[in-house]
């Protein structure tokens, strides 16, 4: 925690020393109204009159805006979202925080003790972009799907309890608290999707959703452990919240609920829905269904022994061990292979496949990205370019090549594509370096974080902190100003209504800042 305090103190010092941003208030009394006034105590003559501040009269400074919270869209408490056309934009906020001990009964051994740490669980609500509360804090989790329609959509898990609870961190790590949390653990199969412009919402009894082309998305259950076959639904909606069609019941005529459902989409707005039934002994059964935007089948149901994988406009079907085929949407088998493996690198899907004893690297148009290799290539990204390695053994002796077969210098463990200009490079075990590919400069090294995501037209880099240690921190770095803007227990960035919002919470205190306007639209302080 000292690290956090040091960071913020450094930030404050920076602010005090260097910050003279356009929005910084300027003293308006430097006019002729007080030409003789001393503004530096040190400059005062020791023999002079005692320094006194006095005004002829109090100025009219107006009245104060009401409330720490800017207000409510509806005067009364709300635990359900009501779509409307006049919200403008919708932004999540953190209304309260629960702290609980992840393992309240640690054993004596070191590992158990390490795992017994206090974790926050946040409860979210929704507000308008100008800070008026639309739904009180009843959601357990919020994800933003930026591709869900023109405005994007928030996908939220409903909290099981709507009662008030806000505990101070120091009071958190009690057994009672832990028990309370379990009693109020959100029901994972209760999801709400809300358009970021607030014009539509869908509440579904499922916990999975998948963006399905530019105009549709699907929601479905993740597991069928106790469900009936008729619960095997995949529901497809448009971005006005209207149900378009559903795959329902027992599409594979298996007479029992699927053990898992997986949804992906193929180029051309084709939904690929994979159902899997495990077998008590031997292989299970997988069936893959394909539907167009209107729900019409576009390809015969495929049966597989392994699984189906979407690859551009093609499907990779694992028939049995060491037998794969790549099938187009006409049902034509384009390749068969003993090895097919897809990777997502540099923003695109890449296929590595074996054919006639050689390994080929293909893009989603099935073009070869380099000459066939006699070894199974291991793919990585370096400085925004694809490299492949002959990695029979990790460590010394590995050879790395660019796709042009020029030797590649892999000086870091890996580099991940962020956008055309920036890459994230792993350093050491878990540190991430944000590197400017154009200048070759390392902008910032962030400890224990994931590859950053850019916001505000590339001005901000958001680093999601990795779990696995006792404290979790997220970070926002200003690429524009080349300084860390924020470190907090949790941060989320959202683009809504033309603004970039930072929603964050530290030490139980939460806030929402509109980065684009510089306006703080919400703040809640644990007094």
């Amino acid at each position: 925690m000292k690290r956090i305090a040091a960071f913020f103190l450094a930030g404050i010092l920076l602010c005090l020393c260097a910050c003279s941003a356009p929005g910084t208030p300027q003293q308006t009394t430097e006019s002729s109204t007080q030409p003789e006034a001393v503004t530096s105590a040190a400059a005062a003559d020791a023999d002079a009159e005692p320094l006194v501040f006095r005004l002829e009269s109090l100025p009219d400074i107006g009245t104060r805006k009401q409330g720490a919270v800017k207000g409510r869209f509806f005067p009364e408490y709300r635990d359900t979202f009501e779509p409307r056309d006049d919200y403008g934009s919708i932004v999540p906020y953190i209304g309260s925080v629960f702290y609980y001990t992840s393992n309240p009964y640690p054993g004596e051994d070191e590992e158990d003790s390490y795992n017994a740490y206090t974790q926050p669980q946040y409860r979210y609500g929704l507000m308008t972009g100008d800070g008026r509360i639309v739904v009180d804090d009843v959601y357990a989790e919020v994800y933003f799907e930026e591709d869900a329609g023109p405005a994007g959509a928030y996908c939220m898990t409903l909290f099981a309890d709507r009662g008030v609870k806000s505990l101070h961190p120091e009071d958190a790590d009690t057994e009672e608290e832990y028990e309370w949390l379990w009693e109020h653990t959100p029901d994972e199969a209760d999801t709400l999707l809300v358009s970021a412009d607030g014009t539509w919402s869908i509440r579904v009894p499922y916990d999975k959703w998948y963006i399905f082309g530019e105009t549709l998305f699907a929601v479905y259950p993740s597991g069928m452990y106790e469900n009936k076959p008729e619960d095997n639904k995949i529901m497809v909606y448009d971005y006005h919240g209207r149900l378009q069609y559903e795959l329902s019941g027992d599409p594979g005529n298996m007479g029992k609920p699927a053990d898992s459902i997986n949804v992906r989409w193929l180029t051309g707005d084709v939904l690929m829905a994979e159902y899997w039934w495990s077998a008590e002994e031997g292989r299970g059964t997988g069936k893959c269904f394909f539907r167009d935007k209107s729900g019409k089948p576009v390809l015969e149901t495929l049966e597989e022994a392994g699984n189906c994988t979407a690859f551009g406009a093609y499907v990779i079907v694992e028939h049995a061990e060491d037998r794969y085929s790549l099938v187009d949407l006409n049902g034509r088998e384009r390749f068969t292979s003993t090895y097919m493996h897809t990777q997502y690198l540099n923003g695109e899907d890449i296929l590595v496949m074996e054919q006639n004893g050689e390994y080929r690297i293909l893009d989603t148009d099935l073009r070869q990205m380099c000459e066939p290799k006699s070894f199974k290539p291991y793919l990585k990204a370096l400085n925004g370019e694809l490299v492949y390695g002959d990695v029979q053994y990790y460590g010394e002796g590995s050879n790395w090549y660019l796709e042009t077969d020029k030797p590649a210098d892999m000086t870091t463990d890996s580099e991940d594509y962020i956008d055309g200009r920036y890459v994230g490079c792993r350093s050491g075990e878990d540190d991430i370096i944000l590197r400017d590919k154009k200048t070759g400069r390392d902008l910032v090294t962030v400890p224990y974080a994931d590859i950053p995501k850019l916001f505000a037209n590339g001005e901000l880099a958001f680093f999601y902190g990795l779990y696995g240690k006792k404290t979790h921190q997220d970070y926002v770095y200003s690429i524009k100003e080349e300084k860390m803007l924020l470190e907090a227990d949790t941060i989320a960035c959202y683009e809504a209504g033309g603004s970039t919002y930072m929603v964050f919470c530290d030490g139980g205190n939460s806030a929402v800042l509109n980065y684009t306007t510089g306006e703080k639209i919400y703040q809640k302080v644990v007094e």
Binding site: G23, I61, R162, K480, N509, L513, E527
Partner: protein, 312 residues
Amino acid sequence: MKKIPAILLAAALLLLSACGAQSAPETTRGTDAQTEVQTARQTGNFSFTTDNYPRMGGSLANLPLGEAVTATVLGITRDEADELITFAGSTTDNYKAIVDGGFDILLAYEPSEEAKQYIADSGVELEMTPIGTDALVFICSKENKVDSLTLDQIKQIYSGKITNWSEVGGADAAIKPYQRNKDSGSQTLFDKLVNLGDDLMEPPVDMTVGSMIGLLEAIADYEGSENALGYTVYYYLTNMEDDKLATSKILALDGVDPTNETIGSGEYSLTNDFYVVIRKDAAEDSPERILYNWICSAQGKELVEKENYVAK
């Protein structure tokens, strides 16, 4: 040890608001009635600037006063003033911060016992002058039939001896007595004025509320809150969050409604002062000492009253 970051978070907000969005258009000016900032002619021999302005913090209920003081002496808008001051964290944290050098001046309610001990242990002496009076008020749902409680009834409720609203003239329903976190200013006030000592019941885990607004929401906003009882400070509720009074109400105490008049006269009995605070070793010509003196002056008192506080 989340307390210090609680204050620092607010400082970070200040930073972000002031520095982070340089591409942003002018934000505070021109957005409301504060567009035209009047500046008053100075008649003293010292002028405050944003560079020499003391680092000011304090209790949340004193935030409007902090804004008003800052806006008045610097000739800026309230929104601009809000970015220069830090009224976050508990009252206890704020006292610790002025001892540790994090603040130069406080506008704050009385320190908790923990804060007093911290001050004593540090060897730092503080100079405090009461500048106004506030009151501890009890609130319940507007739907509740009860309009008034006696101090004795409140003591019995919070010591667990009265548990049903019917025992104090209300419906037959269990009382849900909320409490605040122990280092809050409201709890300090409750502990001092209600003075239950060890008789104070241990609150159920879901009836301790970590923020002032959280408590108001507990009483005012939530389904099932008609049986809740809570407390806060009068100024905060009636001047900063009075929309909560649409669904909640302030209970009279021993038949006396809290108003600025009854609080000022002492007729409403659960009152306490709030203070302007600096370190005693602040130099006579230091900006914080000069501001302290001004806040304690007649003009400072006039501003306290103008902000609808009960001035001392």
